[in-house]
């Protein structure tokens, strides 16, 4: 079964429902935006997909592979750009890319090409041998972004993609996300910059206090925005 399914997922922390019976599907080659106020549950959805947050109930599957059935194969098909970069302080930027390349089994030549291309576009070529603590927050975000863009995956999770990126970085990321979409990758992103995502997201899922309150096409954005404001 193609695409991503998030079915009846409930997550609670200390008996409080953070996600309450949430369901949605993502089709290949689409960009879906998770929209909601702070604390609505957007990042929790991302973490639950990655297994960083345990769920109480529900099922998650990608291209027919259940998260609990085969966790490694499930993860093989997705990549994640977190809101706050979580890089390893003991590895340089280049070593992070190599770790990703090895984990996603990317062919060496292909990996080198991609690293060179992304590093040049995001202007971090001279920072490749730096440790994360000697990079600015924006630079760390760029390193984390490149890590997630290296593998060809079916699902790309992007938490606040434009946070910490400069104008050129943001424009490049938007370009890349559109490119990934053309390559049939399903993209799930969260953002508070509604005007920006309106330009390239296909669908939206609106969350409120851990519940889905609306799912629709991005064309209906103006109606949505009035409600969001």
């Amino acid at each position: 079964m193609d695409g991503f399914q998030f079915s009846h997922v409930t997550v609670s922390i200390q008996k409080k429902h953070i996600l309450d019976d949430i369901s949605f599907e993502l089709k290949p080659g689409t960009i879906t935006a998770l929209i909601g106020h702070n604390g609505a549950g957007k990042s929790t959805i991302m973490k639950t997909i990655l297994g960083l947050q345990e769920k109480d109930e529900g099922a998650i599957s990608l291209n027919g592979v259940g998260q609990e059935e085969d966790f490694i194969q499930f993860k093989q098909q997705l990549a994640y750009i977190p809101e706050e970069p979580f890089l390893l302080s003991e590895l340089t930027a280049m070593q992070h890319f190599q770790l990703y390349g090895e984990s996603y089994q990317i062919d060496t030549e292909n990996l080198k090409e991609k690293i060179a291309m992304y590093a040049s576009e995001l202007e971090i070529t001279d920072k490749l041998d730096e440790y994360p603590e000697s990079l600015s927050k924006g630079m760390r975000q760029k390193v984390q972004t490149i890590c997630a863009l290296l593998p060809d995956v079916s699902l790309l999770l992007v938490d606040e993609p434009f946070m910490g990126l400069d104008v050129y970085g943001s424009d490049f990321l938007e370009k890349i996300l559109k490119l990934k979409k053309q390559e049939n990758t399903a993209i799930l992103l969260t953002s508070h910059q509604l005007d920006r995502i309106k330009g390239f997201a296909d669908h939206y899922i609106m969350l409120q206090q851990g519940k889905v309150v609306n799912i629709g096409y991005m064309e209906d954005f103006d109606v949505l925005k009035r409600r969001f404001d």
Binding site: L52, K75, L87, E90, Q95, Q98, E102, Y104, D129
Partner: protein
């Protein structure tokens, strides 16, 4: 206009709110873990257990008295160890828990220095309470004399108070200076040990250590608020204040302990290690991560390591059979401890989010476990040479131990892999039976060493058979 509360009043208020929040968290966590009936039973069994321990220890009173006499003669060593504890903590902890709450207050019209003093007092008060309670318990259940317990307790409290400023000041220093300073107790210890041969009354030695610490405090006092790394202090203290083991376990919210920015942290930052990993040898990626894990967890690892050596040596004196039991327990303990770190590898968010090539992680981790066992083998050879009379069997025994160790590592690693990859497929029963049989072999290996030949032969047969099968499969595949 209402009058501004004093720094002390505000500090007390913050402290009270923190206590209330912790109490609430504990209530929540205890609500999840225990019910009242269970708690009553638990308390009852705890009291009974303590009475039982008291009775047992009472029978060994002469041993305690001998220990007390030795400890009194070398009392200064207790003081040195206590001061070393604070110095060793200075790598990771500032000691005084000046947290983000205090930092925030210091930005308002409240005195930062006073807040620091209150915190320092609070820290020592808390330590004294814990140590007095522990001393009371020790007095109740062990045959140590009151005078001895009292003097140790008082000394520990005094050392803690006198080490507050040194620990704080040293925490702010660069790592290489810290390293030099932390060697000081060894020098003082050696000096004191040498002096103990000339000074008849150990009390003078003890007094001289206290006097030394008082002078150090006097000299460092003016440096307390100079070149303070407030950002690191606050970050570390926030983690320490809210990293409550029980609550984090119950609520499943993990707060990472402060990272040890020790010597290794700086050592690994050399130019060679900054180079990209070899493109042709991806194993270096795994080895680097495993190395970093072990260096970060070195304290727990060393504790486990010395525990295993202790078991080996302690059980070797009595009877060859007990030595076998020691080897079996030591092996399983070493493997369990070493492999328990395997799960830690995947706890980092970045590594966790990756699709692990678990076979490679397993393979390279197992190599580290084997390399780490070399010192244990050295000890084992020594023990076998000293306490067995059939030296001819020693090479066979050692070879069989390597084989058994390999199976144990594979078995425990497999169980850990099943856990982290959420696999529902259990370990095969045959494999489990083999491991149990090998454990029984280890226990009897010193009394029946001829079995080592059997273990070696079985492994040779298995290895040849597996290799042949793989070779045939490979040929079929190529064909």
């Amino acid at each position: 206009m209402s009058k501004l509360p004093s720094t002390r009043q505000v500090y007390q208020k913050i402290k009270k709110s923190r206590k209330q929040k912790k109490r609430m968290l504990y209530r929540l966590a205890f609500g999840v873990a225990f019910d009242r009936t269970m708690l009553v039973y638990l308390t009852f069994f705890l009291v009974l257990g303590l009475l039982w321990v008291h009775d047992i220890l009472k029978q060994t009173e002469p041993i305690f008295l001998v220990a007390e006499n030795i400890a009194t003669d070398y009392f200064f060593l207790i003081l040195i160890v206590a001061s070393m504890r604070s110095l060793s903590f200075s790598f990771t902890r500032p000691g005084v828990r000046f947290s983000s709450a205090e930092l925030l207050l210091s930005m308002l019209p409240y005195d930062k220095k006073k807040l620091w003093y209150y915190n320092a007092f609070e820290k020592n008060k808390r330590f004294s309470q814990v140590i007095v309670a522990t001393a009371a318990l020790v007095y109740l259940i062990t045959p140590f004399t009151f005078l001895f317990i009292f003097s140790v307790t008082l000394s520990l409290i005094l050392i803690e108070c006198l080490m507050t400023i040194p620990q704080w000041v040293i925490y702010q220093l660069p790592w290489y200076i810290k390293l030099i300073i932390t060697q000081a107790p060894f020098v003082i210890g050696l000096w004191a040990f040498g002096l103990s041969f000339f000074v008849a009354n150990p009390i003078y030695l003890t007094m001289s250590i206290f006097l030394f610490l008082v002078i150090v405090n006097f000299l460092l006092f003016k440096r307390v608020f100079q070149r303070v790394r407030w950002h690191d202090v606050v970050k570390t203290n926030d983690q320490l204040i809210w990293n409550i083991f029980f609550i984090s376990k119950m609520s499943k919210i993990e707060i990472k302990p402060p990272k040890r920015q020790g010597v290794y942290h700086h050592m690994i930052r050399n130019k060679r290690l900054k180079r990209p990993f070899s493109w042709t040898k991806p194993q270096s990626i795994y080895h680097r991560n495993i190395f970093l894990l072990f260096t970060e967890q070195k304290e727990q690892m060393l504790q486990g390591f010395f525990g295993v050596i202790f078991i080996l040596i302690a059980l070797s004196f009595h009877h060859p059979y007990l030595l076998g039991v020691g080897i079996a327990l030591g092996t399983i303990l070493y493997v369990q401890i070493a492999v328990s770190f395997f799960v830690e590898l995947f706890k980092d968010k970045l590594i966790f989010s990756l699709p692990w090539r678990i076979d490679r992680w397993e393979k390279y981790f197992a190599r580290w476990v084997f390399v780490g066992s070399i010192p244990l083998f050295v000890v084992l050879i020594g023990v076998l040479l000293l306490f067995t009379d059939q030296w001819i069997w020693i090479p066979f025994l050692l070879l069989s131990y390597v084989i058994v160790g390999k199976y144990f590592v594979q078995f425990v690693l497999k169980s850990r892999v099943i856990l982290i990859t959420k696999q529902s497929k259990p370990i095969s029963q045959v494999f489990s039976v083999i491991v149990v049989l090998l454990f029984l072999y280890l226990m009897n290996s010193t009394t029946k060493p001829a079995f080592s030949i059997l273990v070696i032969l079985c492994e040779i047969i298995r290895y040849t058979y597996v290799n042949r099968t793989l070779l045939i499969k490979g040929e079929q595949h190529n064909g």
